[in-house]
Symmetry: none
Subunit: 249 residues, 2 copies
DNA sequence: GTAGAAGTTGACGCCGCGTCAACGTCAAGC
DNA sequence: GCTTGACGTTGACGCGGCGTCAACTTCTAC
C-alpha cells in the first residue's frame, strides 16, 4: 500500500493541509518521503490516522491525541480503542437527545404551551453527558498511565504483567472449581486485580463493573482471560460486581 | 422569568464567559441590565440561546448563527428550525456510523484480517454525511435568503410585505364567506403565497403543508394571519394542503 | 522545451472562546 | 458601619487547529 498525500486526503476526507500539519507537529509522519520530498503513506499510517480522526471527532486536543496514539503497549491501545468506541456511542446518544429536545421545544411553541427551562436544555451540557471528559482524556487516563508505565521501567513492567498472569491463572483454577464469586478467595483476587488495573486508572463503583462486563462481552479481553481456562472472564466479572459495592464514587 | 448570568450558565451548560462573549458580539443580549451592570435574561433570551446552541453543535460559525437567529420572518425561522432538527439527526447517524466503523476495524484487527481502506474511513468525511453543508448553512439557506431580502432593497421589501398583506387580506375575506379551500379563488391566493414564501425558501410537497400547519398551531403565526379576520390561518392551511399535492419533491 | 498539475516549505490570519488582571457590588456576619 | 467573600464587570492577551496565500520545486504530457 502506497498512497500519496492527495490519495489519503480523498480517502479520508481530511485536507492535505491537515496531513502536513499532522506531520509538522509529529502526530502522523508519512511512512516514507520520496527523494523529492513528497509524502507517502502506508497501512500503518492509515490505521493511526483513523484513530486520530476518531479522537478528533471526540474533540480531544491534538496533543492528547498524540499521547494516546503513541502508546506502545498494545493492551493499553486496545483498552483505549474500546473506550473511544463507547465515547462515540455516547456522542450519538447526545445528538439524539438534542434532536428530541429541539423537537419538543418546537411542538410546544406551536401549541403555545410553556416549557420548563430545564427541559429546554436537556442534552446540551457536555459535562452531564460526557462525565469527567477531562479526566478521561486529559492527564489522568492517558499521560498518567503512560507515565506510570514508563516509570515502572522494564523490570517493573515485567513484574506487572506477571502479576496479571498470576491473577488470571489463580482465577482460572477457581473457575474450574465453580467457585463462588463472592467467596473469600475470589474477592481477594479481585482486590489484586483492582490494584493491578489501578496502575493505569482507578475504576470506581460504577466503572469497575463496566470493565468487568467488558471482559466478558469483548472477545479480545475474553480471550486474554479465558486462555487460562474457560469461565475465567465470567468469574472475574461476577467477582468484580460484588467487589465494586465496597468502592467509593 | 428572571435569571442572572450564572443561573443561565448552570441551566444551559455554557460558561458565563461565553454569554458575555455572545453579548459582546451582539449575538445574544440580555433582556435587561441592572443599574449595576449585571445581565438579566428572560424567556425569549433562553429560546434564542437554545437555537444558538443547536447551531453551535452543528458547527455553524457564530456569524452565520447570528444571521439565522436574526431572521425576523417567522416563516423562515420555523423552516430553519425544522431543518436544524434534521441536521441533528444526521449528526446522530454519523456518529453511529463512526462507531460502527471503529468496531469493525477493531474486530478485524483482532482476527488479523485485512480491511479495505475505504471501509476504514466510512463516516469520517463530513462532505459525504452532511451533504452541501456549506450550501445549507452558508450562502444558500440563510445568507442567501437574507441576501435575497437585501437584494430587494427597501422598495422591494415594502412591496414584498405589501404582497403578503394583500394575500392575507383577500384570504380573510374568503374565510368570512366560508370559502372552499380547494376552490379556484383560494387556490390562486395560495399560489401567490407559495411564490411569496419562495423568496426565502421553496417548500416542496412535504414541507409546504408543514408550514401551513404551523400557521395555525403557532400563536405568533396565527396572529399574523388572523388579525385580518378569524379563520384566515386555517383557510390558508387547508388551501395549502390541497395546493401542495401539485408540487414537486 | 515548456506548460500545467500537484507537491513542498514558510508565514500570517482567524474563530471561539479560556484565562488573567483590576476593579465594582451585594448579602451576611460581627 | 465595616469587613469579608462570593460573584459580577470590563479590557486584554493567548491559543489550538488548521485555512489561505506566496514563492518555489518537481513530475508528467505534449
Amino acid at each position: 500500500m502506497d498512497l500519496d498525500i492527495s490519495a489519503v486526503a480523498r480517502l479520508t476526507g481530511v485536507t492535505s493541509r491537515t496531513l502536513r500539519h499532522y506531520d509538522a507537529i509529529g502526530l502522523l509522519s508519512p511512512a516514507w518521503t520520496g527523494h523529492d520530498g513528497r509524502r507517502h503513506y502506508g497501512d500503518a499510517e492509515l490505521l493511526r490516522l483513523q484513530h486520530i480522526l476518531v479522537l478528533r471527532e471526540l474533540e480531544v486536543p491534538l496533543e492528547t491525541v498524540a499521547s494516546i496514539v503513541d502508546t506502545d503497549d498494545p493492551a493499553l491501545t486496545a483498552a483505549l480503542m474500546r473506550d473511544h468506541h463507547i465515547a462515540l456511542l455516547t456522542r450519538r446518544d447526545r445528538f439524539a437527545a438534542l434532536a428530541e429536545t429541539v423537537e419538543r421545544t418546537v411542538t410546544r411553541l406551536e401549541k403555545g404551551l410553556p416549557m420548563s427551562t430545564d427541559d429546554m436544555f436537556e442534552g446540551f451540557d457536555h459535562s452531564r453527558y460526557e462525565p469527567e471528559a477531562r479526566e478521561r482524556w486529559g492527564d489522568l487516563a492517558v499521560e498518567g498511565s503512560n507515565a506510570a508505565w514508563k516509570w515502572l521501567g522494564a523490570e517493573g513492567q515485567r513484574a506487572h504483567l506477571a502479576e496479571h498472569e498470576a491473577i488470571a491463572g489463580a482465577l482460572a483454577r477457581l473457575a474450574a472449581e465453580d467457585a463462588d464469586p463472592s467467596g473469600e478467595e475470589v474477592q481477594a483476587l479481585v482486590a489484586r486485580h483492582h490494584a493491578w488495573v489501578s496502575l493505569f486508572w482507578t475504576p470506581g463503583r460504577d466503572a469497575y463493573p463496566g470493565l468487568g462486563r467488558m471482559y466478558v462481552d469483548d472477545p479480545r479481553f475474553r480471550a486474554t482471560y479465558d486462555k487460562h481456562g474457560d469461565g475465567t472472564a465470567e468469574l472475574l466479572r461476577d467477582g468484580i460486581e460484588v467487589f465494586a459495592r465496597g468502592l467509593p464514587d
